[in-house]
Symmetry: C2
Subunit: 170 residues, 2 copies
């Protein structure tokens, strides 16, 4: 792949994107249990646990795309997702008040969701342009899940977690 990038076409970029998304999702599978473990609010904790299961399904969907493309699953190392997870770990290390940390963790998770919405949005557009219908269908499903996850976090932040964080614990 890397050798071909000199004469790259959209299909090479698409494959690069899928390898990047595969790196991103497998990185998140490792990060989400830590975010669940450090959430105090029970809805937030179960939200992270549910999203872990969803993310594992998204990893499987990417493997199916590799299968459809006729290649074995490979990763391209993405710096942004490592930075996003590091920023969340900084919060866990530095914010001792559990209610404030919950609000910070929701914000960190929404960063990740929006990041993924952009990534899957691009991948879906490229798949459609390239006529890769099977891949497009799988990407669309994940994109829908990521948008729903962001909306869920939004509601939880607005109606509960942010309000709890206005005053710290005694």
């Amino acid at each position: 792949m890397k050798n071909n990038l000199k004469h790259a076409e959209l299909k090479d970029l698409f494959l690069l994107k899928i390898k990047a998304l595969y790196d991103i999702e497998t990185h998140l599978v490792k990060a989400l249990p830590k975010m669940a473990a450090h959430s105090a609010d029970k809805d937030l904790k179960s939200g992270f646990k549910n999203h872990l299961k969803e993310t594992q399904g998204q990893v499987r969907r990417l493997r199916n795309i590799f299968f459809l493309l006729g290649i074995s699953p490979q990763k391209t190392q993405v710096e942004a997702i490592r930075g996003l997870v590091k920023d969340a770990e900084w919060l866990i290390k530095n914010i001792k008040d559990t209610r404030a940390l919950d609000a910070g963790l929701i914000a960190a998770a929404q960063y990740v969701e929006h990041y993924e919405i952009a990534g899957y949005g691009t991948a879906l557009e490229w798949a459609k342009l390239l006529g890769l219908e099977g891949a497009a269908r799988l990407l669309k499903e994940t994109l829908r899940e990521e948008k729903a996850a962001d909306e869920k976090l939004n509601r939880l932040a607005k109606h509960k977690v942010n309000k709890q964080a206005i005053r710290p614990e005694e």
Copy 2:
């Protein structure tokens, strides 16, 4: 600030967010000229140049928020934006075909826009909850700009740059 995080409240988190956004925007002011310089399509190039001016205005808005909060502008180092810029630099270094690179650069820019939409969305929610009306007004203005920038990139990708990237240059 860091010393207070043990008993952090939402207002401490809000201040941390503003310091993080200030770091993000000033980092982008340095990165955008490089993205403009490596864009081949003239609309994409001028898009990056216009967004640089917009970003400089967003930096000024954040300085105004610090002023409203009665503190001098400060930064909190954010790893995610460094990762996002590194991933874009990887594309510049590795994709030699200019049409494919343009498509890659739009995708990289949309990652950044969505990342910022999440960041300003959270900051705006927190400002409203804390009753910081002046800050909320400024954040809302930037959030509107970031959403418009993402939409503009979307249209440019869909109607022009992605189509050009299907076939590489001769």
